[in-house]
Amino acid sequence: MTATVGVAVFPGTNCELDSIHAVESLGGTGKILWHSSKNLSEVDAVIIPGGFAHGDYLRPGAIARFSPLMSAITDFANNGGPVLGICNGFQVLTESGLLPGALQKNKGLKFLCKTVEVRVETENSTLTRNAAKGVKLSLPINHFEGNFTCDHDTLNSLLEQDRVVLRYCDNPNGSIDDIAGVCNESRNVVGIMPHPERACDSLLGSEDGKVLFDSLLGAN
């Protein structure tokens, strides 16, 4: 696999190098995408990594969505390009309208950094095509605003269209219907709260994130 994955960087993003490290450890090539640039040429897939884009000021993702890079990523996604939002990147994707719902403060009103079990709920997404439905993955979470919420109709359509990508086995943050990740209707845009890039090295505790990056790298 020689896919080139663009990794978005806003001021305040902090997981960009970790994401690139994971991509490159699986044979891909990582490329930084600066927030003020609209250039997505030679990029096969995009990751919007974790962190605190623009300090999370106003609301996580609320300022980043107006960046030139996000308008380019929106075009890329609308043309079928694979886009993965991790944690803060998921928040940016919901703020941008590329994914439905919103991420509110954790139910316990505390930041949570721990490893949790999630279940793959569909094989039909750019992130899970190499994973088996029902398989449990051990992945770290690291967020204050990870409590996924949406209105009743949205939840119904997510369920009807098989768009829940990952579910928590033991809901840590109060997310509706234990949802840890969703995809768009075209299934090429995925947002997840857990950090698979932190689970690609047995010395760090888990390699369960690899199957997700494998799917992304092979998505094009």
């Binding site: 001021p11 305040g12 902090n14 997981c15 190098l17 970790d18 490290h21 962190g51 605190f52 623009h54 300090g55 999370d56 000021y57 139910k107 316990g108 009103l109 505390k110 930041f111 949570l112 950094c113 721990k114 770290p140 690291n142 204050f144 033991d170 809901n171 840590p172 943050n173 109060g174 234990d178 950090h195 890039e197 932190r198 090295d201 010395l203 760090l204 505790g205």
Partner: protein, 732 residues
């Protein structure tokens, strides 16, 4: 007016006279304000400097010792490590969230000032007892502040410690350690040189926050009333500003643009301008009108002593200015030329470079001429032994054990402890283990860094000299338990009011104990911080030196064993059986504090540490726990709570054997197949071994003392902090 002004600023009459002698005239109010912050206890170490000189500071691998912003050591492979620890006790007592947050911000700047990328934070926290509502409020606020700032600034908080004791009621201890890595040849120092070079202020605008923080807050204790007036002295942090400042500064270093750089911390611009000039042996003109200000009508002295956060002072050649502005624009960081390096040694504060001279001071006099006090010391009267009383205690060992258990995961689950993909062993264990990566390209070296923070006020209250030796010894053993050799130590000396001769005696004794242990173990002290006036309502805290020790793991191919208990494992205690209840957690539980401590035998300790490192390296054992506060009982219970199995042990017939504390003792769990290997290795170096029992089943059994379901232990361990401080997580 001026003579009463100096007292209001915290200067003594003698200090004011000395300033007049240096200047050979009466200082104006601005000059007096600048001396008052620089000669404060916090900046000048005037009560402790004399004693600190007794600490060993050199080793072949030390690149920068105490006195700079951070200590720096050579860890091989062209990589250097910068490390520092600092207290933010007093601000955290007044405004826990911002006090702790700005403590994190300040220590980060100390590290990236050296040219290093900060890759790890650790926190050593001490609060009043959990049954005091205000102490709980402070604890929760401090943890939230560290979480809020550290997570957002993008530096993982990978470990630390937390303790609760009524001695810290009203005066919590918040000690923050930061470690960074840099290419050895990129080391940057905080000095100005080159006449005509420019001083550029980077980062946040200057406001009235933290005016006089060091002299007002950090150098005086708290009373029952009037603390509200001190509120404006607490700074407010902005982690997003700091994140951009870190990235901008690292890019500036990569581009080789600076001659020197200094962060703005305590004493703000006064400290940064005078320190850089004085270290470089030059003078500096500072134009205060060029300093961006957050509010209107700020006075010159407010600008010069403001402790507004997220600011750096870079010294650059004029030809590099455009390139520096370019990088700052990219990262949305403000940059303004506020000073010029001049000939001579004068720090001049001006209203525009060609305008009025508002202050003119020999730059070095703010540092080198600061008073050094040899304050009187007095050994306290020995207290009556408690041993007759201790014998009479008839409490149930199970109740004692359960009340001593506390899982710190309530704290560290609020911290990002995994960013940068280095954390092999995270918070909650003996020592944190990080992968050592090349700081330029991120390549793995297959080597590791281990870090630990240790403190124990109970030991030091009984005997500050022996207590401090035991702390250093514990740090060394914590590193050994993950297979690491120690390389350097940083310390935070938290003590009471130095004008009290008994406190000065504690400080002096503690430094002697630290010096002796560091000499014996060959660990250089590369930096430190002294926090005095830790008192509340006239009561001094127990002496609380905290040490951070960094070590290296030469080959890191597998995770060190941790607290793992596997079914069928045997439990073996390594080390001497010399233990006592003096200064123990159990004694504190029952209100005793007068017994003596068991002193450390350095030779046995070193031999045991070598043995332990060998066991880790060879993979001989499955689990390991250094015995410390709470003794064998707490260590056994913590291992059970972190594992899937129960235990059954014997040879611990009484309270002393279960809860007694003594140095150089390590508990291991081992596959019986490896038992002979372990025993023969221990015997060959004369380390005593005690076979305690077995792992298995679902009960926690200490023969004749305790027999309960494992679940009882687990539950006490897990619920202790959430019950006291708020749940924070939900059960599904």
């Amino acid at each position: 007016m001026v003579d009463s002004l100096h007292r209001a600023l915290g200067l003594t009459d003698e200090e004011a006279t000395k300033i007049g002698d240096i200047l050979q005239r009466t200082p104006n109010p601005l000059e007096l304000a600048m001396y008052s912050v620089m000669w404060s206890e916090h900046c000048s170490y005037k009560s402790s400097r004399l004693h600190l000189s007794r600490l060993p500071t050199s080793a072949p691998w030390v690149l920068v010792g105490p006195g700079e912003n951070a200590g720096v050591i050579d860890v091989g492979d062209g990589i250097a490590v910068a490390i520092r620890i600092e207290s933010h006790n007093h601000p955290s007592a007044i405004e826990p969230y911002q006090g702790a947050a700005t403590g994190v911000g300040g220590i980060l700047r100390d590290i990236f000032t050296m040219g290093a990328r900060p890759i790890a934070l650790m926190d050593s926290l001490r609060f009043g007892s959990l049954d005091d509502a205000r102490s709980c409020w402070i604890a929760e606020g401090v943890v939230s502040g560290i979480s809020g700032y550290g997570n957002a600034v993008g530096v993982p908080t990978v470990g630390g410690e937390i303790d609760f004791d009524s001695t810290f009621q009203g005066n919590p201890l918040v000690n923050v350690l930061c470690l960074g890595t840099l290419p050895k040849d990129r080391l940057v120092l905080g000095q100005a040189s080159g006449i005509g070079n420019l001083a550029v202020l980077l980062g946040a605008a200057t406001g009235r926050d933290g005016i006089g923080g060091v002299s007002v807050l950090a150098s005086a204790g708290f009373s029952d009333q009037g603390d509200v007036e001190k509120r404006p002295s607490v700074q407010v942090g902005d982690p997003f500003e700091e994140k951009r400042l870190i990235e901008a500064c690292l890019e500036i270093f990569d581009s080789n643009l600076v001659v020197g750089i200094q962060d703005l911390g305590g004493a703000g611009l006064t400290c940064a301008t005078s320190e850089t000039a004085s270290r470089g042996g030059v003078g500096m003109d500072v134009d205060i009108s060029a300093v961006p200000q957050r509010e209107l009508g700020m006075e010159a002295h407010e600008i010069m002593i403001s402790e507004s956060q997220e600011r750096m002072l870079a010294i650059i050649e004029p030809s590099n200015l455009d390139r520096l502005f370019e990088i700052c624009t990219k990262w949305e960081v403000n940059a303004n030329v506020i000073g010029r390096v001049t000939e001579g040694n004068k720090l001049r504060i001006l209203d525009r470079f060609e305008g009025n001279v508002l202050a003119e001071i020999p730059a070095s006099s703010l540092h080198d001429d600061a008073p050094i006090y040899d304050r009187p010391k007095k050994k306290p009267e020995p207290k009556k032994s408690d041993s007759d009383e201790i014998i009479k205690v008839t409490s149930d060992p199970l109740d004692d054990l359960l009340s001593l258990l506390s899982d710190p995961s309530w704290v560290y689950s609020q911290y990002d402890h995994q960013l940068f993909l280095n954390t092999v062993v995270g918070p909650g264990y003996e020592a944190t283990v990080l992968k050592l990566r090349d700081p330029v390209n991120g390549f793995e070296t297959n080597k590791g860094l281990a870090i630990t923070t240790d403190g124990n006020h109970r030991w030091c209250a009984v005997n500050p000299r022996v207590g401090t030796k035991l702390i250093v010894a514990e740090g060394l053993m914590n590193l050994a338990c993950v297979g690491a050799h120690p390389l350097a130590l940083v310390n935070c000396l938290n003590f009471g009011n130095p004008e009290n001769p008994e406190v000065m005696w504690q400080l002096s004794e503690s430094i002697d104990g630290m010096a002796e242990a560091c000499e014996e173990f060959g660990i250089p002290v590369v930096g430190g911080n002294v926090s005095l006036y830790n008192e509340s309502s006239g009561t001094n805290i127990s002496p609380t030196p905290v040490v951070g020790i960094v070590g290296k793991i030469e080959e890191l191919y597998r995770k060190p064993p941790g607290f793992e208990l596997l079914e069928g494992n045997h439990l073996v205690l390594l080390g001497p059986s010399d233990i006592g209840l003096g200064g123990s957690l159990w004694s504190a539980l029952h209100g005793f504090d007068h017994e003596e401590l068991i002193d450390v035998d350095f030779e046995i300790h070193k031999v045991l540490a070598d043995l332990v490192r060998g066991l880790i390296f060879d993979g001989t054992i499955d689990g390991i726990h250094d015995l410390s506060a709470g003794g064998l009982g707490v260590a056994l219970a913590e291992m059970v709570a972190k594992s899937k199995f129960g235990i059954s042990v014997a040879r611990t017939p009484d309270t002393l054997s279960l809860f007694g504390e003594g140095p150089s003792r390590v508990l291991v769990s081992i596959n019986p197949e490896n038992m002979n290997d372990l025993l023969s290795r221990a015997e060959s170096v004369n380390i005593p071994t005690t076979r305690l029992g077995l792992v298995g089943g679902d009960r926690f059994i200490v023969k004749d003392l305790i027999d309960v379901p494992k679940e009882t232990i687990d539950s006490a361990f897990v619920t202790h902090l959430p019950n006291a401080l708020g749940v924070g997580t939900i059960s599904s």
